[in-house]
Symmetry: C2
DNA sequence: CTTGATTGGTGCGATATCGTACCATATATC
DNA sequence: GATATATGGTACGATATCGCACCAATCAAG
């Protein structure tokens, strides 16, 4: 407990530990996921596919870059990979000559469904090992935490 | 809600959403952290430094690789970076001719303290924006979730 | 309309991640 | 002790991530 500054205004150490746990769990779930995705497919690629289908088709790479909090060059690379696989198409924006718009293809939707189906067994195996009500207890609080952090980045 | 298989044994969709949130928050906090670490320093490098000081000096790279759930080549690379910066030393193991042992140097400890001090203001700024008791509500549940997942990987 | 600042995207180079193959040491079996 | 298997680490190549510089289109002033 690096006890240097005064009194620890409001559980800074606690929040630090919180992010530590979240990071570890994120890493564990990422490894879990990647093992089931089709070879060569990235979590990011899957996430983008998922995002398009959940949030809406036709967003721009830049918007997804900020949504995912990654540099635009990274998003560019991810989208390029999906294009190469034929899972999304990149159309020039009809309203803004600089932008492009991303749409999932039929193959993309199928791929996403396949991926989720491939993931489900692992999750179903994990589920009964979790204490009753744990997920329900965590999820809403995590959502608010994300919302606060999302809003906090000016 | 990919409604393909039968009845969704036990909130598989919920758990999926849970991991989704955790992944996003992890990404947000990673970006937050990286912005404050000294230039060229990775989260992984900081995590290793932190791990050594919290869990114990003298572990082997391989043990840390499994602890962090990353391939051993990645851990090797991370440790090499820390060695190059003079933050850890790699000694041959006295009991096992194959292994090496990792120890933090004085500079390494100083670096870790500096990093935490650099991070604290951001966290302190975030803290008051969080609902009362949120961290306390989340942390224990996240710990058990991590423990279950940790135990689940045979 | 012209100038200057902003914004979306790409090209490129440096570094990180990670799978495969490989080597050395250790452990098990006989 | 000899052989087989397992384990820790490294070398190397392929891909991912990301900062920086650049270009084109938009927007804001004047």
């Amino acid at each position: 407990m690096t006890n240097s500054s005064p009194p620890d205004p409001q559980g800074v150490g606690q929040i630090f530990a919180l992010f530590n746990e979240i990071g570890i769990i994120g890493q564990l779930s990422r490894t879990l996921f990647e093992a089931r995705l089709e070879p060569g497919m990235t979590i990011h690629q899957f996430s983008v596919l998922n995002h398009l289908m959940r949030v809406g088709e036709g967003t721009t790479p830049q918007r997804m870059a900020t949504a995912f909090q990654v540099p635009k060059t990274s998003m560019s690379h991810t989208v390029a990979g999906l294009v190469k696989r034929g899972y999304v198409t990149l159309e020039p924006s009809p309203t803004d000559g600089r932008s492009k718009c991303v749409f999932t293809t039929e193959a993309g939707r199928a791929c996403r469904d396949r991926a989720i189906a491939a993931l489900a067994p692992d999750i179903a195996e994990l589920a009964p090992q979790l204490p009753e009500g744990l997920v329900e207890a965590l999820l809403p609080h995590l959502v608010t935490l994300r919302e606060v952090m999302d809003a906090a980045r000016d």
